[in-house]
């Protein structure tokens, strides 16, 4: 049996995929959506502020969003791993999955760089946001949109996986 099939055939992966319980695949998918909403949404709020919207909002207190953004990230890392196990032979052989991982990795690096270069800048909130901060905001928005796009397209390209009975696919 191949390595991927052996992951997919573990008791846990089988239960996630085949159990009729809402606590299996549906609940995990829901957690993945909530994590996405907070991780990407809070990032976007910081990005818009860096780009000059709501300019009278002080930036420094926004650093506390990072706790929630990391919580969203880890919820999605965990739920994503479980979803991946359930469909290992199809998702791990889907090129779109690796494209998604590259964009998520770059977006998270971008998020860390914003913290180090913008939030740790002693001149934060005394000087206008610099060129670097604005560029990081643009790349953050683009990288997260790309990650979401790749994530969604995993359901339509490559080997069949995802929700049971999913009918709408590009052949």
């Amino acid at each position: 049996m191949s390595f991927l099939a052996s992951i997919e055939n573990t008791a846990l992966a089988t239960w996630i995929r085949e159990s009729s319980s809402l606590w299996g695949y549906p609940a995990i998918l829901f957690m993945h959506t909530v994590g996405l909403g907070f991780l990407v949404g809070l990032n976007a709020a910081i990005d818009f502020r860096l780009l000059g919207f709501a300019r009278r909002v002080p930036l420094a207190p926004m650093e506390s969003f990072y706790r929630l953004m990391w919580a969203g990230f880890w919820v999605n890392a965990a739920s994503g791993t479980l979803l991946l196990m359930a469909d290992a032979t199809t998702k791990l052989t889907n090129r779109v999955f690796y494209v998604k991982m590259v964009f998520v990795f770059l977006a998270v690096v971008n998020m860390v760089v914003i913290r180090r270069r913008v939030f740790r800048d002693p001149a934060i909130d005394t000087a206008p946001v610099g060129r670097l901060g604005r560029m990081l905001a643009v790349s953050s928005l683009l990288l997260w949109m790309a990650a979401i796009t790749a994530g969604r397209l995993m359901a339509y390209f490559g080997p069949v996986s995802g929700a049971p009975g999913l009918q709408n696919r590009i052949p």
Binding site: G37, F38, S64, I148, A155, P164, Q167, I170
Partner: protein, 165 residues
């Protein structure tokens, strides 16, 4: 009436296009629906969490200037959502999860109306950095968080509790 409306809707050219006539249209709408979701939940979430006491250094008045992005997210999702419905109305009209999703969106809308029409919005607008919003506003914020997370729940349950993809 819903049935005959759905039959008519399903016979339109737009329905054909969304349901696979134009193969990339449904995946594109799904992608936009999730980008809209992140915008809406993230921006509304920031406001709700601030009202509940997170990141208290943020003054409310300028923070509320981010609301247009949440409205943008909602609009994207309203349009793409209507397109999904047009593409295959029958998988939604008899779907319990869809009914609950609409109900929760309606309640979230009523909650927002309450916030603006009762003048709570103006009282919150006057809360500066470090300040606390009135208790009534905290209730509105908590209800808002619950309802929008609920909307995501019912949306995700469309294929599982109901039968839509």
């Amino acid at each position: 009436m819903i049935q005959s409306f759905s039959v008519w809707l399903h016979s339109t050219k737009l329905s054909w296009a969304v349901a696979g006539g134009i193969p990339w249209l449904w995946p594109l709408c799904e992608t936009l629906h999730f980008i809209g979701l992140a915008l809406l939940v993230g921006i509304v979430g920031v406001l709700d969490l601030r009202m509940l006491g997170m990141a208290k250094g943020l003054p409310l008045a300028p923070l509320q200037r981010l609301m247009p992005f949440a409205i943008l997210g909602f609009t994207i999702n309203l349009i793409t959502g209507c397109l999904f419905f047009t593409g295959d109305p029958f998988q939604y009209i008899h779907n319990v999860a869809f009914a609950f999703k609409l109900l929760f969106i309606g309640l979230a809308g009523a909650n927002v109306m309450l916030f603006y029409l009762t003048g709570l919005y103006r009282r919150v607008d006057g809360v500066g950095a470090g300040g606390d919003v009135p208790a009534a506003a905290k209730v509105v914020a908590a209800v808002s968080l619950f309802l929008w997370i609920g909307v995501m729940f019912w949306g995700r349950m469309l294929p599982f509790i109901g039968n839509a993809f």
